[in-house]
Amino acid sequence: MNERADPRLLEFVVYLVSCARLSLEEPEIYGSFRLVEGAARILDIAGELGLAVDNVLCSARESIEREKLRMIDDHEGYRAWLDELLRDLVTEASRQNLADTA
């Protein structure tokens, strides 16, 4: 356990803990934004970590980059976009889980 942690893991943990502390002082919607930004960051390093990223996740990553800043001045649009993103991801998760158990 004494070997140095993978810096990418440390980076992600530092980000999450920083968000956890900051979320105590920010409006709720920022917590949502930090989480979706975290999703983008883990997708950014997934390839380096040897985790496969498929078209669905690539599309999700692009969508996050394109839409996330709606949080600032279009809360309804942000909410609708998150609903759509969530629906797409859950649909894919369901499809994959059902395929695994078939």
Partner: protein
């Protein structure tokens, strides 16, 4: 730091035009920001209002390792900027010279003005900046090695914007009143 003549003579841009073009950038090229360019931004920050001397401190960061750590630990730093300027205040000196209000109000106002000047100077230099305020003091102090009496006020991410940046956020217009609150100002 460059001399005043060096900084003011060669580049001139109408102040209102700079204000019109000012925006926040969050997508930058991989090109580093030259020290000369950073020094011009330092000059701009130094020209902004300051209630007394030696309260404002600027930490200019262009070591990509430090920028990376800031990006990791400051959730609001969501750009890929290769440099940043941390605008900080000496709270002991602010307290001694201006009192409690100097600490809780004036130092922050002055830091905001410095960030604004940096943003306008960036337009003139064809640089892009993003004012970052979503972070915790403890994180920035740890990364930059700030002593306890130096309070980080605002981070300004700096870089070269990509040629076709994403659209800017819409402008937030102030609500303007005439003479007293609630009577709308009518532009002449």
């Amino acid at each position: 730091m460059a001399t005043e003549n060096e900084l003011t003579a060669p580049r001139s841009l109408d102040a209102f035009e700079a204000m019109r073009r000012r925006r926040m950038h969050r997508v930058f090229t991989d090109d580093p920001v030259d020290r000369e360019e950073l020094d011009r931004l330092v000059y701009a920050a130094g020209r902004a209002q300051a209630v007394r001397s030696d309260i404002r401190h600027l930490v200019v960061v262009d070591d990509i390792r430090v920028v990376r750590t800031i990006r990791q630990s400051c959730p609001g730093f969501i750009s890929n900027a290769p440099a940043l300027i941390a605008i900080c205040s000496d709270l002991e000196r602010a307290e001694a010279l201006v009192g409690h209000r100097g600490v809780v109000v004036v130092a922050r106002l002055d830091a905001g003005a410095a960030a604004g000047y940096i943003a306008l100077a960036a337009v003139s230099l064809s640089l892009g900046v993003c004012t970052v305020t979503s972070w915790t003091e403890v994180a920035v102090q740890a990364v930059l090695g700030l002593p306890p009496h130096i309070r980080p006020e605002v981070l300004v991410a700096v870089g070269h914007p990509v040629p076709n940046p994403p659209r800017a956020m819409r402008r937030f217009e102030p609500i303007v009143h005439e003479n007293r609150f609630a009577r709308a100002w009518v532009a002449p």
